[in-house]
Symmetry: C2
Subunit: 300 residues, 2 copies
Amino acid sequence: MKDNSQNTQLIDGKAISEQIKQEIAAEVAEITANGGKRPHLAAVLVGHDGGSETYVAAKVKACEVCGFNSSLIRYEDDVTEEELLAKVRELNADDDIDGFIVQLPLPKHISEQKVIETIDFRKDVDGFHPINVGRMSIGLPCYISATPNGIIELLRRYNIETTGKKCVVLGRSNIVGKPVAMLMMQKSYPGDATVTVCHSRSKDLVKECREADIIIAALGQPDFLKGDMVKKGAVVIDVGTTRVPSDKTKSGFKLTGDVRFNEVAPKCSFITPVPGGVGPMTIVSLMKNTLLAGKKAIYK
Amino acid sequence: MKDNSQNTQLIDGKAISEQIKQEIAAEVAEITANGGKRPHLAAVLVGHDGGSETYVAAKVKACEVCGFNSSLIRYEDDVTEEELLAKVRELNADDDIDGFIVQLPLPKHISEQKVIETIDFRKDVDGFHPINVGRMSIGLPCYISATPNGIIELLRRYNIETTGKKCVVLGRSNIVGKPVAMLMMQKSYPGDATVTVCHSRSKDLVKECREADIIIAALGQPDFLKGDMVKKGAVVIDVGTTRVPSDKTKSGFKLTGDVRFNEVAPKCSFITPVPGGVGPMTIVSLMKNTLLAGKKAIYK
């Protein structure tokens, strides 16, 4: 009998995401069978960034699986800010479009913040508009952004205890660290945790991690979290997806998480792999928001 | 020489708040001397709640000191939601009003959230509208709500180090705990702290407090924070203002903080008293937001 044995369960984001897409497809089938409107997601893609192309293609494909209509609107890198904003306003006014996203990042001559704030918050299925961010913080119904939503859903599907637990969030970005911290401290399940947010300026980051029941690593620093920074039985959610050059893959790179998996996993009660953990859940979160938009479940 | 000696500095919120009001008054004098518009704050007060009457009277008085115009609009307890919302819309449209507040709490037949969301966010000097909450979370210019803003200002005026420090926030309310946590983790000074939010469900609250460099107590539980929960040299900000019945005061109650002052103060490097600490700063924060509104410094 090993003293350090820990029954580690792998959190299978890929399987859960497939399951949720089937649940959504079933609901869409019911809606349309009853004469309701098929949800319609539009995506605006500017330029030909490799990552953005991959993400948008995956989103379009997920729409098919869910039974949504989807529209892809493409612009070259030299589109002006005003042209793009005009398209955003057109999509805001288009009654057939339930929700839409503008894939980030945008070329430097375009203000991402201006684009985000021009999107009608009622169609902002990415959940980046200040109204949706504020409503989430207050605890009101809203579109929750994809990655935090996906993390919460994984905790829920695996019935992971969060109430009163010490949850350490590594990173304070607007799209992951800050919103997931807000969600984990809300009066709800998953939530009700004692939440600590650590970042580049934190002096006691290692100590905080060692005491954590749940660690959500979203620094974007490959292999940052090491075996000796995690206590036995911890739950570790790895949000990192840095593209590290590799000669072993056809694409020439390897998606690498923030967690040194081989060292950390044996100590964990639950852990997400990279890829196949949080990643697949982000697209499913967007699909969930699109379904909510189609049903006008949050805003009329 | 005492081993446990600690040079405790009292944070004088009353003095700082008077100083800031003078700074605002000087700026208003300059604005009006140059032909600019005198800022104008309106306050809507429903009913005759003792606390609300006191707060609103103090706000009107602070306007005078700052050189603002102020308007007080009163309704009886039986005002309908629609009447109140109509007044909010009228104030939204009134070009002479730079900012306004609806004093909370409201009678139960009126939805506070609906009232808050009906206020034009550009005049929402209380900073409660989801857009202002969201913009604060993202780190964009906005109206920051009064109490968190006052706490940050006290830390700034006393040059208290926050970068990399462990800051424990007790309480997760929408008006204090959550927003002050967001501010303390932002990339700025005061901020850049490692922030932990504890609340009623937290299992290790005492341990977190004992390790904290800065404690912001906003639970609304009189005398909650005791001497043995604070480490030597800590900075303690007491946000509590519970009215505890007392036969020693003319009013029949005594404002009581969340901190057992006599036990905690000797261990602190800095501490706020109650009253005279955070309290006076909240009204000054509202004055600062009104000045920003008058100058159209945040929204056009």
